[in-house]
Structure formats: structure tokens, C-alpha cells
């Protein structure tokens, strides 16, 4: 396939829903999500892949949406924090973030929550080091990461506990 300056149609799954949008080929996935689809929880950070604020999950794995071209998500599945839980039905990770006091300014929180979810989906019982490695790519200037790490492990305990019951 090829597409020029005019526009390119991209079809993908966003938070479980099929979407079809026309976008510029030189738009990034971040541009597509924020500007076209108004998903504002995906933050515009450094736009050079350094800070992790624009994290989304593509086919369940965390990626930097500022480094992916919009046409590259064609046919794939994208998850933003809106697809993880809402105030009425929080995901265990979100619950744990609230309870552990893992939230300060909240700018990195969606990226952290998404990363934690992706981690727990693969590894339901990560040790501290594994959690720290997973969130290495998301910077946080407020918390010193301590309560974020604790929240992820708290969420793991809860989820694992649920399975055992």
C-alpha cells in the first residue's frame, strides 16, 4: 500500500472498538489519538521517545506513540487508559494506585497504569526489580517511584488473590 500527502485511511481497534480515521501519513500515533480522536489521556511529552508520557499499548505491549507513525497501527489493537477502567469500574491497578498514594501530579499516571497492566497481564506476580524494569521507560518527577512500585505489587497481590479464591 502507499499513501501521499492527502490522507490515508487507518483502521484499527481502539479500546475494543473498531475505528476508521483518515489521517496524514506523517502524523504519529500520538497525533492521531490526541488531535483526531481527542484521547487526551495520552500526553504529549518530549515527542522524541525519551519520557514515556505518550505510552499506549499496541497489541498488549507498551509503545511510545510519539515514535510510531499513524499508518503503522493499521489493523492493530490500541489500548489507552480509557480502555483499562473508568471511575465506576476501576481496574485493580487503578485501585491500587489510588490506595497506595501512587498519584501526585497525575501527568505520568496513565502511562504508568498502562505499563503496569501490560506487565501484570504477562507476569501476574512480578518482583520489585521486575516492576522497576518495566516502568523504566516512564519518567516521573514527583513520586520517586516508591509508591508506584508498591501500587503495582499491591495490584498483583489482589489479582493473584482473586485467582486463588
Amino acid at each position: 500500500m502507499r499513501a501521499g500527502g492527502g490522507g490515508i485511511v487507518v483502521r484499527f481497534t481502539l479500546n475494543g472498538r473498531e475505528v476508521e480515521v483518515t489521517t496524514r501519513p506523517n502524523a504519529t500515533l500520538l497525533d492521531l489519538l490526541r488531535n483526531e480522536l481527542k484521547i487526551l489521556s495520552v500526553r504529549r511529552g518530549c515527542e522524541t521517545g525519551e519520557c514515556g508520557m505518550c505510552t499506549v499499548l499496541v497489541d498488549g505491549l507498551p509503545v511510545r506513540s510519539c515514535l510510531m507513525l499513524a499508518p503503522q497501527v493499521d489493523g492493530r489493537s490500541v489500548t489507552t487508559v480509557e480502555g483499562v477502567g473508568d471511575p465506576e469500574r476501576l481496574h485493580p491497578v487503578q485501585e491500587a494506585f489510588v490506595e497506595a498514594g501512587a498519584v501526585q501530579c497525575g501527568f505520568c499516571t496513565p502511562a504508568m497504569v498502562l505499563t503496569a497492566k501490560a506487565l501484570l497481564d504477562r507476569d501476574p506476580n512480578p518482583d520489585e526489580r521486575t516492576v522497576k524494569e518495566a516502568i523504566l521507560g516512564v519518567l516521573c518527577r514527583c513520586t520517586g517511584y516508591a509508591k508506584i512500585v508498591r501500587a503495582v505489587r499491591l495490584a498483583a497481590e489482589r489479582v493473584a488473590g482473586g485467582v486463588r479464591e
Binding site: 487526551l40 525519551e50 498519584v103 501526585q104 505520568c108 499516571t109 513520586t143 520517586g144 517511584y145 509508591k147
Partner: protein
Amino acid sequence: MSSSSVLEEIRRAEEFLVVGKGVRRIDALDKVTGRARFTGDFVLKDALHVRLVKSPIPHGRIIEIDAERALSLGPVRFFTAADIPGENQVGYALPDQPLLPADKVRYVGEPVALVAAPDEDLAEKAAELVEVRYEELPAVFDPLEAMERSDVLVHEDRGTNIAEMTRVRKGNVERGFEESDVVVENTYRTGHQEHAPLETEGAVAIPDTQGGVTVIASIQYPHLCQRITARVLGLPHSMVRVVQPYVGGGFGGKDDMGPVVSAMAALVAFKTGKPAVLVYSRRDSFTSTCKRDPSVVRYKTGATRDGRLKAIEVQIILDSGAYANRGPYVLWRATMHAGGPYEVPNAKVDGFLVYTNKVFEGSFRGFGNPQVQFAAESQLDELAERLGMDPLEIRLKNLLRPGSRTITDQLLESSVGIYEAVKLLGEKTGFRAKWREYRRERAGRVRRGIGIACGYHGISTSRGVPDWSNATVILGRDGSVTVETGICEIGQGSWTAHAQIAAEVLGVPVERVKVVGGTSDAPDTGATHASRGSSIGGIGVYVAARRLRERLADAAARLLECDPSDVEIREGRAFRRDNPDDYVEWEELVQAAYGMGYEMSATGYFFLPKGKFDMERGLGYAYPAFSYIANVAEVEVDLETGKVRVVRVWPALAAGRILNPVLVEGQIEGAIAQGMGYALTEELKFEDGRILNPNFTDYLIPTSLDVPEVEEPIYVEDLYEYGPFGAKGVGEMALIPTPAAIMNAVKNATGVRITEIPATPEKVYFALRRAGVVAGE
């Protein structure tokens, strides 16, 4: 109600329902679900996107600005100093800083013009096409050089590059050194630090129908933002409305930059009649916002054989960059804290704030204090070594206690918990045993060390600079509670603390309280800086809520047919103390009070009493109260590479009442991480005034894998008479002693004193080489 009686009452209270508890943040749900909105999310239809045209040179006259090519691209608008309708002045301490310079540029990255266009790409392209012709001027980058030179002046009209001088003269230092058995003298250097909030600076300005403007911005002080924006636009303050959305971190930087960025966006909105959005790129945030002042501190300390401090002589030189901004205040704070939290009978301190042709400096968590505490606390360890003492011993001998006097000769009558905090910290960490063991061992490639450092920090503004608190509390007819404050929520959790204070005083669950803050629509509460958000800011909430509580007790007494003093209100019910079954529900009570004609809103204004300060000698009343901190850090040093890893930090805090331990821990953990970055990895590199690493690839803030374990803090609740429930400030505290604690631990591990931060692996390696601890390869 006198303030001392309030403190008595608080002291008598045996338990609190909400205060002191790890109450959940009131904004947590918005943030974990991604619903929280930040400045850049408010892009309105028809909005113009604004971009900066920045100076590529460090010093030069503006000869001509040519926007013809930029304007030819399409619907592009262009603004320079000439377009400013009001006063082109955003200086803080001194009137030295234009919003956009008319005559000359003073640093690489200085915004010289603004470009606006309906789409971002067009604005960016247009900004690149603006051509500015300069006549380059010789530039000066080193503050030590700048203070001696008069041929190269950053601000010609001032006749010198020294922007401000400060001094403290206490006792007689000559005699103090004569009476000393040991004297230690060293020079310490600290580098720039970039705030690096993950949300960059930004503002959205929306013109209103009456010729004014509403600004939504990433700020720390709405009323300052209002004043400066109004000044630039030439409008009465009342015509500028400022609202903060959620703010993605501040750390002081947005106190300074908020008004500047707001004024830029407002200028575009005002001139075009359209909404204007200006969000700094990460690069802009590096090149064109204030940083922590780099410093050179020359420090001489004398003590007697038994370890008592006799005298200090300190020279502090702060590099202010191109503008003074907050520098004079930063310098004052550094000057008055130069002795550390110790009794020093004789002190001579001289401070200099020096202009250079680099990006300007400003407010940053600690505000001049981390620079001097790094020196003061390093000195103390060097002194202890000369005396054959351990670091804990020398500190315990000299720490401030109730009844002590500071180096400005201020008498500290109460609320001085540092001695107890350090004592407890020493016991908890087993400091002495570890310190001796690590010093004895010193073998192998990776060495372990432990270090301690203390700090103190005046709460509120310095000297006689007026400070106050203010808030409005409104009870809705349905019993809901609204707190209006100018304090900003920048991640620290002040609004949650405010809700706790209101809930505790009124006797309702926290969930009933809504906080509307960070807006010029609320009373001017002063800035969210100087660790004053929850403490000073909370006083107004406390006072206002007390007023309502008295009215409600009165109303309840009429309903319950008893004396108001017999009424208790808690957990959403008012009842007779002698008969809890005789009660009215909260909603019912509020409605009845409305019906009886009670005013169900109240303001709580409180003007902080302050003493006199003699500027000539630098003596007198410096701050209404101090918070205190001590950190113990344990490190590992890889001798072959010079890499320092901080393994663990134990904090101890004496900051009065801990209103919410979860929030306080968050502040401590974050401050330690930021202090560690400052001490070890965060290095802004310059070449001819240009920043070589304006990005997160090479300006290295700590990641999840770098931060140490932070142990549960020790709290000494040394209540402060005017603080809400006795609380003092917390936000800045744990950063202040962190660099010194780490470098003292490095010394314990290696025997080598590092006097310059950031202590990157390369710097530590060559310091170890110079000291002969390692040989070259």
C-alpha cells in the same frame, strides 16, 4: 479566638478524625482514569497556536526582525516587543526582564518574538522563517569572572554584573576563629538543575467580551499571574482571570514561568481576539525556562577541641544567568541558612548574585538552601574528622534546640525538633557502628559508605516580607462544603490537606468537601511555594472553618436546646455532648442555620506576625518558623568507574503536625529522588552559553531503577503555633540535605571529599585518581 488558645486546644485534642490520617487524595480518581485535564488539553476551536522565536546567540543587539517570509506562508501573526500594549516588564525582584526584548538579547534561547497560526505545523514553520539580525556583543559566562568585569555588562544600566549583595554579621568572627582549635576551609560548587516537570510550561488565553482575558495555565500562583499579565496588557487586574487546570508538576519553576508564559499567550489573544495556546516543547523547557542557580560557596568553619562550633565565614556566589528573577530572594535565603541548623556564635556571610549570559535562574525546591547546606554539611564532616569525632556526635553537640539563636540572632522559642529527630535517626540506622565499620573496611572494588546531613528551612517568606493566608469556606444548602483558595494543586496534595482541615474542623466526612483552588477568583492566598501550600495556605481554611463551626454550634444549640459549648459536631452529626442520641443530621443543621439567618460562608484571613530585620547587619527575625530534616544515606561507590549508587535513605522530619502521612511520604520520596539527581546525574552542559543537552537523552533525571529505597520517615511533631493543627512546611525539606548526605557517605566509603556536584561518574573517578585511591589504567 487568640492563636495561642487555638494551639492549646489542638494540643489538648487527643484524637483527630481526619487530620493525621492517610486520607485518599481527592483528585486520585481523575488522575488514574486519565480524566484529569492539563493546560495543553484545552485547545479551543479557532485557537491560534503560538511558537517562540528564540535567540541563537548569548549576547547581542537586535538590529532588525524580519518576518516577511514567515508571514508569506499563510494566516500567520507575528508579535514583538513593539506590540505590547502595557508594560514590557516581567522582572520579579528587579525590573530587569522584558517579556520580549526590544533592544538586546542576553542568553541563547531567549524568546525575541512570537508567531501564531491556526495550526501547529504552520506556526512552527513560520517561527523558523523569522529572521533576526543581531550585532553580537562579547558575552560572559563565568560568574566569578562576571563579578570582576565592567567591560562586559549583561545589563549596562546597572553598571555592574552584581545584581544583589547580602550579608550577615553576627558576633566577632575573628575572635571566633582565634578561639577555635581547628579550622576547616573549602570551596564547594553546585551546578544548574532543570525542574523537568513532565508537563512542560503552558498557557491558554481566551479573550472575553469585555476586553479582558481568561488564562488557563500551568502555574503556582494565580494572582501573580493575573498581576503580571494585566501589567503587560495594560489592563486592570480585574480584567484578567486566571484558572489552573491540573498541573503536571511545578517544583518552583512554574511559580516563575507561569506568569511569563501566560502573558505571552494573553498578548496573542488580546491582539487577535482569538484564543491562543502556547505550550513549551521539551526543548523550550530546557532552553528558555529558569533553573536552579549554580553556586560557588567558599566556607570556613572553626570549632573548639570538644566540637563546639565557634565561627563560620562564608561567601556565596550565585550565578543568576541573564536576569535577576527571584535571585535576590534566593540569595537571601541561602545567606540566612548558611550556618545550617546549628548554634553558631559568630558568623560572617556575604552573598553575591551575579548576572551572566546564560539562561536565567529562579525558584526551585529548596530555593538557595540546597547549595549552602551542601557546603555547610560537608564542612561539618570534615571538621569532625579533624577532631576525631563521628558525624553524629558533632551534630548532636551543635544542633538548634528550643531557646537557641540562629545565625541571624533570631530566638527560636519553640517548635525546634531537630535534635530529637537526629537522635532517633542515629539510633534507627545504627549510624555510628556502620560508619566506623565502613571506614575501617575500605577494601575491594565497590566500597560502601554511610553519611548523614541535616537541613532546616524557614517557612513562609523571608525577613519582614509580608505573608498571609486567606480562604473562603462556603456551606451549600445541601450541606456540601466548598473551600476556595489561591493555593495551587501541583501534585503535592495541598487540596486534599485543605479538605482534611475543613472536614476536621466542621465535623463532616472529607468526601463532602470540594476544593476550588489555583484561581484568581479565590482570595489571594499567596504563592504555592516555600513549602507553604498546606501549612500557611491551610491556616485560612482553618480560620474560616472555625468561624462557620461556631455559627453551626450556635444554631445546633438552639435546635438541641443546650448551650453552644455543649454541642459536638462530628461525622456529619451535631449532638449534645452529654447525650449523643440527641442529635441533628448535618444537612438538617445547615438548612436550619440558613433559616435562622446565619451567614453560611466565611473568609479566613490571617496575617502572619513577623519581627524586625536589620538589613545592614543581616540580623533579626528571618522566618516565622523553621522545618527541620535529617537524611542518612547509604551508598556504594565503584572505584574503577566512579559510579555512585545510593542504596538506601532514612529520613527524619520535624515539620510540626503531619496532616497526611501518605502525602508527606510522597513529598519525601520525591524530594530524595530529585535531590539524588541533583547530586549525581543531572548536569546541564554549556558551550558558549548554549545548552548542549536540552533533552532527556542526556539530561538525566532519575528513573525507577536509580532511586534508593526510602525508609519510613521518623516524624518529630514539633507543633507550630500558627500552623493549621500545628503543621509546618514539608515540600522542599527532604531535597535540601540529600546531596551532602550522599557526598558524606562517599567520603565514608572512599576517604575522598567530593566538593562539586553533580558528582557524575567521571568527576568522582578523577577525584579518586587525584587522591591516589585508584591508579590510572
